[in-house]
Symmetry: C2
Subunit: 485 residues, 2 copies
C-alpha cells in the first residue's frame, strides 16, 4: 500500500493555509528553517515541501528573500458554494440521449466553432507541446516502412514502459506487460465493460458522470445505477454499499481523481475504502483516470488502482487530455483480466496505430512530458480561478460552482427552474454552446446544471462569451421560455 510521505503532509498543510487565506497572494512564507522548527522535520523534508509547492506554481522563491505566495487568494474559492450532493434515481435505469451527445461530439453544430466551451478538448497551443510535434515529424522521417507493420497487440514496449513510470506517480506499480495500448481511453473503457458485463447487467456509476461512458452503457444494453456523489468528496460510499447489497452490480465505474464533470479528487482514505468495499462484495472497479495527471497538486493524488492488491481495478487512461486527442493514444491496465483484455483488444481494433507511439515514448523519456504536465497544471489552475471569477460576476444569483482539483472542467448548478437544454438552444444564436447537465445522467437528471471547459487560454473573447452565457441564463430565470411564448 502506498503511504503519504511526510513532505506531502506538510505541503497539504501549507495549501490548506493558503486556501484558508492565512497566507495570501504576495505574502512571504516562513523560512525553511522556521518551518523545520515549527513542524519538527529535517531541512531535506522542508525543502522538498517548498519545492513541490514551487513546482505547482503556488509559491515562488525570490533570491535572498525567501518564498512568496503567487497563487490567487484562494479565500475566494469557497465564496461561491459548491454544487449540492447529487440525488439520482436509486434504481438501475437504461441510458438514452444519444442525439444530444452526438451533436456535441460530432462537432458539426456551428455554434461550437467559436469557443470550445462544450466539449473535452485540452489546450493544443501550449509551447510545451512543440517538442512532440518535432518528434512526430522526426520519427516519421527516420522510420522505415516496416514501422507501419502490424504492431505488437499490446502496443509499443518502450511506450508501455514509460506509461508504467507515469503510473508510478499515482502510487500504482505495474509491470510493462500489465499495460495494453488502446485507441484512446474510450476503447480502454469499452474493453473493460465488455470484459465484466453482459447486456442487461447493472453497473454502478458516480453521478453526474462522463457522457461517453454513459453512452457505452446504452450501446451494450447495460443499466446504470447512479450513486449520489458530492462535489467535494466524490461518490457516497454509504449509498454505494446500500446499492451493492440491494442490486446484482457487475462493475463499479468511477472517475475518482479530477472527476469529470465535478472536479473533485477523492481522498486516499476514501479510495482505499472503496477498494475494500469492492473486495467485500467481489465486484470489479473500472477507474477512469484520464484527467488524473492534470491534478493541481504535485505529486498527483493516488489512483484507486494504487490501493488494489487483488487486480480487481481496471485502470483506463489516455493522452487525449494531457497531449493531443487526435493521437487516439490510450491505455488499459486490466489487472487480473489481462488475457481476456488482450482478446477483446484484438477483436475490437486489432493492434493500435504505430505512427505516434514511438514519438510519444521519446517525448516522455526525454522529460518533455513531465515539463508539459507542470506547465498545464499551472495554466489550468490559474484559468479555473479566472473562469470562476467571471461566473460569479455574470451568472444568476444562487449559481453554485465546483472547485476542480485538476483538469479543465467546471460544473455549474443553477437555481431550480433553470433549463440547460433550452439555454443551449438560445446560445446557438450567439454561436456559443455548453454541455447541458442531462447528458451526464442516465435518468435525465441535472437539467439545471451545465459543464464548461476552461482549457483554452482565456481572453477578452472568452470573457465576452461567459458574460453572454450568464446573461442568457439570467434572462431565462427572470422570464422562462414558456412565459415568452
Amino acid at each position: 500500500m502506498p503511504r503519504v510521505k511526510r513532505y506531502e503532509q506538510l505541503r497539504d498543510l501549507l495549501v490548506e493555509r493558503i486556501d484558508q487565506g492565512i497566507y495570501r497572494c504576495g505574502d512571504r512564507l516562513p523560512s525553511v528553517r522556521q518551518w523545520c522548527q515549527e513542524q519538527g522535520v529535517s531541512m531535506t523534508t522542508a525543502q522538498a515541501c517548498f519545492a513541490a509547492l514551487e513546482a505547482e506554481g503556488l509559491i515562488e522563491a525570490r533570491p535572498r528573500s525567501g518564498y512568496f505566495v503567487t497563487a490567487p487568494a484562494h479565500t475566494s474559492l469557497h465564496a461561491t458554494p459548491l454544487p449540492q450532493r447529487s440525488q439520482p434515481e436509486q434504481r438501475p435505469v437504461h441510458v438514452s440521449r444519444w442525439k444530444q451527445v452526438q451533436t456535441l461530439v460530432m462537432g458539426s453544430a456551428p455554434h461550437q466553432s467559436r469557443h470550445a466551451l462544450a466539449n473535452g478538448m485540452p489546450d493544443l497551443r501550449a509551447a510545451t507541446l512543440l517538442p512532440l510535434q518535432r518528434l512526430l515529424g522526426q520519427s516519421q522521417r527516420d522510420a522505415s516502412m516496416s514501422h507501419f507493420a502490424y504492431d505488437n497487440l499490446a502496443g509499443d514496449e518502450e511506450l508501455r514502459r514509460q506509461i508504467t513510470l507515469l503510473m508510478s506517480h499515482s502510487g500504482c506499480m505495474r509491470h510493462v506487460d500489465d499495460v495494453i495500448i488502446t485507441t484512446g481511453c474510450q476503447e480502454a473503457l469499452a474493453i473493460a465493460l465488455r470484459l465484466l458485463t453482459e447486456p442487461g447487467d447493472v453497473v454502478a456509476v458516480d453521478s453526474p458522470a462522463f457522457y461517453g461512458a454513459m453512452q457505452m452503457l446504452e450501446a451494450r444494453g447495460l443499466k446504470a445505477l447512479e450513486i449520489p456523489t458530492d462535489a467535494e468528496h466524490g461518490i457516497s460510499l454509504g449509498a454505494l454499499e446500500l446499492a451493492l447489497e440491494q442490486w446484482p452490480v457487475k462493475a463499479i465505474m468511477v472517475t475518482p481523481t479530477c472527476n469529470n464533470p465535478l472536479g473533485y479528487s477523492m481522498s486516499n482514505e476514501r479510495k482505499q475504502a472503496l477498494v475494500e468495499m469492492a473486495s467485500r462484495y467481489d465486484v470489479a472497479i473500472i477507474e477512469d483516470d484520464v484527467y488524473g495527471d492534470l491534478a493541481y497538486t504535485a505529486p498527483r493524488p493516488h489512483s484507486i488502482a494504487a490501493f488494489d492488491g487483488e487486480g480487481r481495478v481496471l485502470l483506463c487512461s489516455s493522452m487525449s487530455k494531457t497531449l493531443l486527442p487526435g493521437l487516439r493514444l490510450g491505455w488499459l491496465a486490466p489487472g487480473r483480466y489481462r488475457d481476456r483484455a488482450l482478446h477483446e483488444k484484438y477483436v475490437s481494433t486489432g493492434s493500435s496505430s504505430t505512427l505516434a507511439q514511438s514519438a510519444v515514448a521519446e517525448f516522455m523519456a526525454r522529460g518533455h512530458h513531465a515539463r508539459h504536465l507542470t506547465a498545464m497544471r499551472r495554466q489550468y489552475r490559474l484559468q479555473r480561478d479566472q473562469m470562476r471569477g467571471w461566473i460569479q460576476q455574470y451568472f444568476p444569483e444562487g449559481t453554485r460552482v465546483s472547485v476542480p482539483s485538476g483538469g479543465f472542467m467546471l460544473w455549474l448548478e443553477l437555481p431550480d427552474g433553470f433549463d440547460s437544454i433550452a439555454l443551449n438552444q438560445r446560445l446557438a444564436e450567439h454561436q456559443l454552446g455548453i454541455a447541458p447537465g442531462p447528458l451526464f445522467s442516465a435518468s435525465g437528471k441535472y437539467r439545471h446544471c451545465l459543464r464548461l471547459n476552461y482549457a483554452s487560454l482565456l481572453n477578452d473573447s472568452t470573457h465576452a462569451a461567459i458574460a453572454t452565457i450568464g446573461e442568457c441564463a439570467k434572462a431565462q430565470l427572470v422570464q422562462p421560455e414558456d412565459a415568452v411564448v
Copy 2:
C-alpha cells in the same frame, strides 16, 4: 444495378485465352484492328480492352510491333488441383482457439520473425509506397497542433470522398456521408456485428474464414454457422439457403472478393443472387472487402454492396492490405444502419486517429494510390505463380493449392492424416511458421490445411523456406508424429 461493359467482356475473353494457353507468354496478340473485326467492336472499345490488360501487367505494348503476352503461361495454373469444397459442421457452434490465434497475431513467437509466411502482412517495401511516406512527413510538418483535435466522428471528409471514389471501382456508389472511418477493418467488422447481433445469436459464415472474424464471434458470444465453400465459386448458395430456412440467422458474414483464405472471387451473378437471398430472408450481409482492391483483374470485381438497393449490406474494408497496416485506417459503409453505426463507433473508440487521414487522402487524390494498386496487383500475381510452382515442387504428392484471384494468400489442402498444427511445432525449430487450418474454422476443421502469405518479394531465402516446409510436411506424412514417439 451495375453492368459489365463491352470492353470488360473482351478483356475477360482474352484473359481466358491466355489462361487456356491459346496465347502463351511472349506471343503476339492480334492487332487492335484485327480484334475489332473479329469481335465486331469499335476501335475505342478494343483499345480500352488492351489498355486494361496492360494495366494489369498481363500484356505489354512494343513500339511498331503490337501487344505481347508478358504474364507466365497460365496453362500450369490448374495442373495442381484446387482444394475441395469445404464440409464444415452443419449446425451453429461456438468459436475457440484464441490461444493459437494469439500466438500468430502477437508476433511474439520467434519463429515468425524470419519470414512473414504466417500472418496477413502486405509488402511494405514497394517503391510505390514512398510518396505516402513523404506525404505523411509533410502533413506532419505543415499541420498545426489543431490538426490533433478530436476528429469528426465519421472521419476526415476528404478521405471519405476519396474512399467513395475507390468504392465506385467496385460498382458501389455511395455518398460521402455513408462512409465512416474506423480503426482498421477489424473495428468496422466489430461494429457491424454489434449492430446486428446479441450474444447467443447465429451468424452464417463462409468456411474457412478469416480467424480475426471468427474470434469476434467468440468474444461476443455468437455462434458460427459455417457454410460449405468452394475454392473456385465461393460460398454454396444452396447450403446457405437451407441454413437460412433452418436456423434463426441474424447476419451473413462473407469475404466474396479475393477471399481470405481461399482466394476466389464470386461471380457477379452469384453475388447478386446472394443479395437477393438475403432480401428474401430479411437478413443483413457483412461484406469483408479488405483484399478486393488487390484483385488481379482490372477493373476489379464488383462488391456485393454494388448489388444492394436496400442498404442491407455493411461493407467493411481498410488500407491494411493495400497500404500500411500500422496506419489502422479502415472504413465501414453501413447502409441503412448509419445512425446506429455512428453510435457504436463513438462508444468503441471515439473518433479515429487524425495523423494519417489527410496524408492518405492526398496520396489518393494525386493518383499515387491507383499506381500503387496497379504495381501490387502485378507483383502479387507473379509471386502467386512463383509460390505455386515451389509448392508443386516441394510439397507432398496430392497437395491441393488455391489459385487466388487477388490478394496474397495461398490455401493448401494436404492429404488426409496431415496435421498443420504439428507441422507448425516442427517448423519452430527452423524459425518458420505457417497459419494452421483450424484457426479458420469455428469447429476445428481444416487440420490438414494451411495458409501461406506470398506478399514479400520472393527470393532464395523464401525458396529455401518453402522447400523446408514441404520437406517437413512430407516427413510427417511418411512418418507420423505419434509413430516417432
